[in-house]
Subunit: 383 residues, 2 copies
């Protein structure tokens, strides 16, 4: 017997109550029982996003919601800036280009966060820019961008700031209204500890004005269709929603409410700090040089060891799924997720297994050192 | 205590084993455990679609897969024919128009199936037509189109035939390869007795040739991205799939395999015939005048009774969710689904409740007459 642990930056572990909520008898998406679920989720998502504006929900992965922000706000030829600190920033650029936007890409070396001053200069040289896309937490590197600072660049210039916070939301603070963000897209399968299949977007009034002018075709992703369906006397989704997932998502959002959003952010920060302290105490080097987010930590394997080998052994020998590198970083880093339904002992057991994995791979590592590193952080936080 | 019965044309009831499969511990969509699920589902869907070609899977509702067929095969200005026998045919036309296709609409009076001869004439007058869209079973009216006959019109002309079989597949025969269909889209929440959230499409080689020439932008819906991800050494989805739903879908497809596809079609046909016989025996009139499909039966309410009132009383008094009319047909018809996880006694109890509902609404109805009508069909079928 070997238990399974999902320590990736998504999909993340799902609490049993949330898993079981999916198994409730199916309800019809146009019947009153569903309406309550939809109303509750929408109200809870507004709180989570820090907005009094509209929230739309999609049956899709986060990428679908990313696409939605492109096709709802823009028209072919519109100039936009895409800030990329990793794989998912590149994805936003690829989507925007696919739909015919003129993309100025601000790319940063992998492992570094973006600098708001660069955006300021770019917008000065390109005053016709209509929107800026940014990743909150790019899980490919573990780097988090300072959304508030970017909002302070875009807002006075009346440029829309569109945020992929698929992994950031819930693990770090985000305030859509107060930080002048215009679209924030996220999903069910990260901090919100629900299986994948639901994505959502919070939409500012500036973004709605852009929706009116957008000439890109849209049907499934239409914000207007979602808004119209929700504003019917009995709120609905425009198309059949993933009912069982939404019922489960509502349970997870109740747990978020119970923990409190601020407490949830603090928990993620503490887990992230402990993970990083433990890794360093083991003698490992972090990949990112700054801007560490709270959802995932990227690590350089010891000299001469392939990151993929560590990932494989962690899974096969200890039942712990961590993540390797994506794209160019394949084999060069490994990533430990501490996102969603994760507590202190999950971090401790993961580092203990990592110590044993490295030992088996012939790396000189002091057993217990990583664990001790995390314990010190946890004890200090309590003191 | 009042049990709940879902007798709508989707989402349909989900067997307990399938519900519970959603509640299994989350697995990571890039880890080996998921690969097996994806391989199995893909192989099973090929059988269900009657194709040796490719099948792509989306985290979305059926409408998303409908959109996928438009954006993957066509370019702006392409001429297409959309055959509409109801609400969902109209939806295909709306999607095609939204994406800039030139749509010739062949509309039929609600309640009648489409005539292949009309398509033949239309294609003769419009030889530049690149594709024809058709609904297999349009649940808004319960009418089913003869796909094989339409394939015989489109195939010799090398025109792509694109089928919305979201509600048809599994309840009536369909052979993608043998009938020369080019794209068939369907979903998890109808005959396949899984919660909504998964859509899929079978794709012919003619369709793949069109994919190569298509100039409509696509990212989330890209068939090519799906194919490339599946053809990696370890088959994957391009974007995070709805893992828990797919695990459950695989269980449902195992049940389909066990029942046998032909037996599944026969069961649906028998349930449909019994439902219609029972309704007639109660003195009710069917809405459709021909082309009755096996998934849903549309019924005219007795003179002077609002269809919506019947739907409401069935739900509130008996816990049975049936469907009202959609769009123009709101209040004018009601619809009984017999799609998916449904057996003979579900039909009997539904008609018994309908008899009581009508009696309470002051309609003169012989109690037991509808039930008897179904029983006669069931007994006769057993020989």
């Amino acid at each position: 017997m070997q238990k399974k642990y999902l320590m990736t930056p998504g999909p993340t572990s799902v609490p049993t109550d949330v898993l079981l909520a999916q198994a409730r008898d199916m309800i019809h998406h146009r019947a009153p029982a569903y309406t309550e679920v939809l109303r509750e989720i929408t109200a809870r998502l507004k709180k989570v996003l820090g907005t009094e504006g509209d929230v739309v929900i999609f049956g899709s992965s986060g990428t679908g919601a990313m696409e939605s922000s492109v096709v709802n706000l823009f028209s072919p030829g519109d100039k936009v800036v895409v800030i990329s600190v990793g794989y998912f920033g590149d994805r936003y650029a690829a989507i925007a280009e696919e739909f015919g936007l003129q993309v100025i890409k601000l790319s940063y070396p992998r492992g570094s966060p973006a600098d708001p001053l660069d955006l300021e200069k770019t917008l000065e040289s390109h005053p016709e820019t209509k929107g800026v896309f940014i990743t909150h937490l790019d899980t490919s590197t573990g780097v988090e961008n300072d959304l508030e600072a970017f909002g302070q660049v875009t807002n006075p210039r009346n440029v829309a700031l569109i945020v992929d916070s698929i992994s950031g939301l819930g693990s770090s603070p985000l305030y859509l209204d107060a930080w002048n963000l215009d679209v924030v897209v996220s999903g069910s399968q990260k901090a919100f500890m629900t299986p994948p299949g639901i994505a959502f977007a919070g939409i500012s009034s500036r973004a709605w004005n852009m929706v009116e002018r957008s000439r890109l075709p849209k049907f499934y992703w239409s914000y207007q269709k979602s808004k119209d369906a929700y504003n019917k006397p009995i709120p609905q989704n425009p198309f059949t929603p993933p009912v069982s997932l939404l019922v489960a998502f509502n349970e997870a959002l109740k747990m978020v409410e119970k923990e409190g959003l601020e407490n949830m952010w603090s928990r993620h920060r503490l887990l992230a700090e402990a993970t990083r302290a433990g890794l360093r105490a083991m003698g490992l080097k972090l990949f990112a040089t700054g801007g560490w987010g709270n959802g995932v930590t990227s690590v350089l394997p010891p000299e001469g060891v392939d990151g993929g080998k560590i990932v494989r052994m962690m899974r096969e020998e200890f039942g712990i799924t961590i993540a390797g590198g994506q794209g160019d970083l394949k084999g060069k880093i490994f990533r430990i997720g501490h996102l969603g339904y994760v507590d202190r002992l999950d971090i401790i057991l993961t580092l203990a297994a990592l110590e044993m994995t490295l030992a088996r791979l012939g790396v000189e590592v002091e057993l217990g050192s990583g664990v001790r590193g995390t314990q010190e952080v946890f004890l200090k936080a309590e003191g």
